[in-house]
Amino acid sequence: MFHALVAIKQVPDTTNIRIDPETGNLVREGVPAIMNPYDAHALAEAVHWKRKLGGKVTVVSMGPPSFIVTIREAIELGADRGILISDRKFAGADTLATSYVLAAVIAEVHAEDPLDLIFFGKQAIDGDTAQVGPGVAVRLDMPIVTYAVKVRDIDLQGRTVVVERKTERWTEVVETPLPTLLTCEKEIAEIPFAPLPDLIRSLRYDPEIWSREEPIEFDSGQIGVRGSPTIVYKMGTPPLPEAGEKVNARELGVGTAVSHALDLAQRSGILSAVLGGE
C-alpha cells in the first residue's frame, strides 16, 4: 500500500491583490484565499499514484482555523485524511519554525503509518521563499528532489523512486530511496475536476486539529515568533526611479521621435557599444 503526505498551505490569491493608492497598504479585504497552486498540483500527483498503486493520501497544513476550507478542498481532490495544525502559539512562524512543526507532524504520521513520498509545492506564492520543503527534508534527514516535474516510477518493493527535476540548464533524472520528499512544479500533474462523491465527502469532512500539545508536544522555543530567527523590520512600496525624457511620436512625427530617442541612446554610448559589438 502506498502512503503519501502532502503539505498544503492556504494563500491569498496574489494575482488579485490591490494596494491602496493613498496609504500604500495591502488591501486584504475581498482577496480570495486559495490553496497554494503548486501544492494543488503536488496533491493531484499524489492522488494519481494512490489511485494507480492503491493506498492513501494524508494532507497536513499549519495555519489558523480558516485553513479548514483548504483541507476540505484537498479531500475533494482525493485526499483521505486531513490534519490541521492550529494553535495561536504557532502564529508568526518563519520558514524555520514552520519546517520544525511540519517535520514533527510528518514524523508522527510516518510512525503511525509509514510514508513513501512526501509532496511539497515548489514554493508558496505569498512568500515565494521555497524554503520549507528543503528545511523539512533536512530535519527528517530524508532525500529531497526539488523542482520535480514528473514522477517516472515508484518501486514500493525495491523502495526507490525515479523523478525528473527541471533546472535552469537541463532536466535531471534522479533516483532516490523511499521515503523521499519532493517539491513540485505545476507541470507535475493537471488538477482534475473532482468526482461528485469526493466533493460530497469533502463537504462533510472535519479535519483533525492538532494543537501545540495534542497529540504531540512541540518545543515552545522552536515555534511561532520565538522559534523564528527572522523578523520583518520594514514594509513599504518600492521607491520610484527617476523618469527619463519622453518624446511624443504623435506630436513630433514618428521619424523625429525615433531619431531623437536613438540620438539619446547614442550619446550615452549605448548604441555604439551595442552595434559595434557585432
Binding site: P12, T14, T15, I17, I19, T95, L96, S99, I125, D126, D128, T129, A130, Q131, V132, P134, G135, A137, P143, I144, V145, Y147, V162, K166, T167, E168, R169, W170, T171, E172, V173, V174, E175, S228, P229, T230, I231, V232, Y233, K234, M235, T237, P238, P241, A243, E245, K246, V247, N248, A249, V254, A257, V258, L262, L264, A265, S268, I270, V274, L275
Partner: protein, 347 residues
Amino acid sequence: MAIRRFWVFIEQEAGKVHPVSWELLGVARMLANQVLPEAEAAGDQVTVEGVLLGYQVEPIAKEALCYGADRVYLLDDPVFEHYRNCPYYQTLAYVARKHEPEVFLMGATTLGRDLAGAVATALGTGLTADCTQLAMGEVKGAKQRLLLATRPAFGGNIMATILCRQHRPQMSSVRPRVFPMPERISEPTGEILKEEVLVTEEGAKACILEFVHAKGESVNIEYADVIVAGGRGLGSPEGFKLLEELATELGGVVGVSRPLVDAGWISYAHQVGQSGRTVRPKLYIAAGISGALQHKVGMQNSDFIIAINNDPDAPIFDVADVGIVGDLYQVIPEMLKQIRALKETAA
C-alpha cells in the same frame, strides 16, 4: 580581535561557474566595506570569502580570487561532481560551523534555492530568499550593524526588509543580475584553503541517472546585452515578427511580459520580471508593456531603457531613459529603418 567573515557560495555546474557568484562577491565586498569603520574601531578584521564545492574545480577557485575574494575554501571531491542536495548542504553546514561567517550569500538560482533552505535549517538560522537590496545597517538595540535584506512580497506589490537578529550566519539568496558584475582583477592577493571532505557517496541519498538537455535553442536572456521586449500591446502574434526583426538587427534576444507567456505565444524562458528572469542588458527596449511593478523589478537595472507605449501615462515611462509615446507598429518599423541606416553609415 574577531574576524567578520562575509561569505559567498561559488556556484558551478559541470565546471562552469554561474556568474551570479561573481556578482555576489561584489555585494559581499560592498557589505564588508559598510562595516569596516565599526570593525576597525573595535579592532576587528573583515574578510570576503568564497566557498566552492566541486570536482577538479581549482581554476574556479583562482577565478574567485580575481573577483575579490580574500580567501576561498575549496572542497574538491568526486562526490561533488554533480550537484546533489544532501552532500552539498551537509558540507556547507560543516564548514560554516567551523568558520562561523557573519553573512552568507547564495544565488537565487534553482541550485541555490534548493541548497539555501537546507543549509539554513541545518544551521538553525534565518534565511531571506530572493533579495533585491542588501545593506549592513544600524538597528536599534544591536551592537553591530546587521544585514538588512529587502525582498518583494505579496506578488511584488510590497517590499519587505527582513532582519535576523540573533542567529548566525545571516543568510540571503540573491537573484542573478540584481547586482552589477564587479571588476575583475588580474593579480589577486587572496588565498585558497583546501578543506577536508567528510561526506561520502553512500551518504549522498540520491543518484543522478541522466541529464536531459532540452531540445531546440536554449535562450539565456539573463546575460543578453540587448533585449527587445514586447507585451500585451503587441495585440497579435504578428507583432512578434517585428520584435524578432528588431532583436536580430541589434544582435539581441526577445523578452516578454507575463501575459504573453500565459497566452502560450512564447516559452517561459523569455519572461522578464518577478516570476520570470531579472535582466540587466546594456539596452532594453520595452514595446507595448504597461510597466507593472512585477515587470519593472525584472528590468529596471538595465543600463539604458527605451519604452514605446501609446499611453503617455503608462508606468513603464517612469523607469525609461527615453520614452516614445506612440504606436509600436509605427515606431518599431521606423526604428528598424534608422538603425539599418546607422549601421550602413558606420560600415
